[in-house]
């Protein structure tokens, strides 16, 4: 008997997008490293409750874009407003306060090697919500682990986890502060197709359950189709096209078609 076919696309969330409220606003953002111009004047609005996928080849500037949004890199030119605050004008304390409302899921998961899962999850909580009691911290940890479906991993070390589990714990660590914005850097990179679908589902669940807006950086078209309310194609530091997944890939632009073809996906 043939094995059951895994669900290819994640369940589409009935996300309520508030198109009147932009949580992230980028205007004319430029960034260069030495002579290499990575971003060449990027404009972007992400609305409340919206998942925006930025697609592009490796080296197209996707990761630089979300690091600029998180305030980890400063743009050479242009303005970045996140939740109404101009990132460039914030001092270290204000920036840290803003970051507690932003969750960042790293490509490598970036779990702290020297700490077990519990300590990894507690780390941002005990430093940002010092008023919490031990019991409240424990409850928050259990709750967030339950939300990502890994309640049995509480006392494991990161080295004992699989790639998919690390991604989930990385996402859980950001969710524990109940962020308003989630930034995902290549959430499915290095994962097998089934685990990728599970992570895509999780991204949608997070959007629904935590009412977050998100920027998802990926070169995985399945991830883009399943998690994005809007898809933007980034190439050579510029946005080529944006819209729904199908709208973007209806384009005759050879750079977009080339990207699509090499992802081995056939249009539905």
């Amino acid at each position: 008997m043939a094995a059951p076919t895994p669900e290819i696309t994640a369940k589409k969330a009935p996300a309520e997008i508030d198109r009147g409220t932009a949580v992230i606003e980028l205007r004319g953002v430029r960034k260069a490293f030495g002579d290499l111009q990575v971003l060449k004047g990027v404009d972007l609005d992400v609305f409340k409750g919206e998942n925006v996928v930025v697609l592009g080849r490796s080296g197209s500037g996707k990761s630089v874009l979300i690091k600029i949004i998180a305030g980890l890199l400063r743009p050479d030119q242009g303005s970045v407003r996140v939740l109404g605050s101009e990132i460039d004008s914030l001092g270290p304390r204000e920036l840290r306060a803003l970051r507690s409302k932003i969750g960042f899921s790293f490509q490598s998961s970036a779990l702290y090697d020297s700490m077990n899962v519990r300590a990894n999850l507690e780390f941002p909580l005990v430093r940002n919500k010092r008023e919490l009691t031990r019991k409240e911290i424990d409850e928050a940890v259990v709750q967030v682990l339950d939300d990502v479906g890994l309640s049995q991993s509480l006392n494991q070390m990161p080295s004992e986890l699989s790639g998919g589990q690390k991604k989930r714990i990385g996402i859980a660590r950001t969710l524990i502060l109940h962020p308003e914005i989630m930034l995902y850097d290549e959430p499915t990179a290095g994962l097998d197709p089934v685990t990728s679908v599970e992570i895509n589902d999780l991204i949608r669940e997070v959007q629904q359950r935590y009412n977050t807006s998100a920027v998802i950086i990926t070169h995985d078209l399945t991830c883009a189709r399943s998690t994005g309310d809007r898809v933007i194609m980034l190439s050579e530091g510029c946005f080529l096209r944006q819209g729904s997944f199908d709208e973007v890939f209806e384009s005759a632009d050879p750079r977009i078609q080339h990207f699509y073809t090499y992802n081995f996906i056939t249009k539905a």
Partner: protein, 267 residues
């Protein structure tokens, strides 16, 4: 008439690049130094992590410090004995050993061992955290990684190296006593009475002071190289290696400066 149509591009000349890189590095070190003092005194404080690092630096180095301290005292006494015996002055061994151990051997040997054991560990740990984005992960979870990782480690090495050096001094003296006892059957009390006749509070104070300076150097070199590590696993290895080499070199330079200052102004 000869005319130079080729404008010299100074930016492409190697010595220019090297000098520029050197001064940029110096500026980074200066900024890192200032930031340490700023972050160390501004709350919130990472008490738990500081205590954790005290344990890491102190308790984990204790066994190797005990062993090397004892052997240093024993061997140094053994080597000095023949020279003193030529003049019939072996009775000076306890005070000679006390001077050698308190003024030079204890702080220096302790610092070199801690540089090798702890300095490399700090460089490698922070370096691997840097290249695997763990430091950035701390930053985006609105934690100050400098305070958590750097301040706690530099404070720990600065405070614990003087304690370890004092401890090594005592263990070294014990090693010296074993050798003296085996040859002259001097009692424990007589040995230590003779040993500390020529040791003053200034000597003890200088031991603590210079050990603290060495400790700061070890922590600073490890944290700086780890915090700015790049180029993946190669960078981690380089950070660990540079931490040890730089801190050992600086320890000898500092030893020379402190000894010169003490001899000129405190003796």
């Amino acid at each position: 008439m000869w005319k130079n149509n080729h404008k010299t591009d100074w930016h492409q000349i190697r010595p220019y690049k090297v000098m520029k890189a050197f001064f940029l590095r110096m500026y980074d070190i200066y900024q890192f130094f200032l930031r340490f003092f700023k972050e160390a005194f501004i709350p919130p404080y990472e008490y738990k992590e500081v205590m954790n690092q005290f344990f890491e630096v102190g308790i984990r180095s204790l066994s190797i410090i005990t062993l090397t301290g004892f052997i240093t005292g024993l061997v140094f006494t053994k080597q000095s004995r023949s020279s003193l015996a030529e003049f019939g002055a072996t009775s000076w061994l306890p005070s000679l050993m006390a001077i050698a151990i308190v003024r030079a051997l204890a702080p220096l040997v302790t610092a070199l061992i801690v540089a090798g054991k702890v300095g490399s560990n700090i460089g490698a740990e922070l370096g691997s955290m840097k290249v695997t984005e763990q430091i950035e992960a701390m930053e985006v979870s609105s934690t100050n990684p400098f305070k958590f990782l750097v301040v706690s480690r530099i404070l720990a090495t600065t405070c614990i190296v003087p304690v370890l050096a004092t401890y090594m001094g005592l263990v070294g003296m014990l090693g010296a006593f074993v050798n003296v006892y085996n040859n002259e059957q001097t009692s424990f009390t007589s040995f230590f009475q003779a040993a500390f006749v020529r040791i003053s509070f200034v000597d003890i104070g200088v031991l603590v002071f210079k050990s603290a300076v060495y400790g700061f150097t070890i922590g600073f070199a490890g944290c700086f190289n780890g915090f700015y590590a790049e180029n993946g696993t190669v960078g981690v290895g380089r950070a660990a290696n540079t931490s040890v080499v730089v801190s050992m070199f600086l320890i000898f330079v500092e030893e020379m400066l402190i000894v010169t200052l003490v001899n000129n102004y405190l003796k």
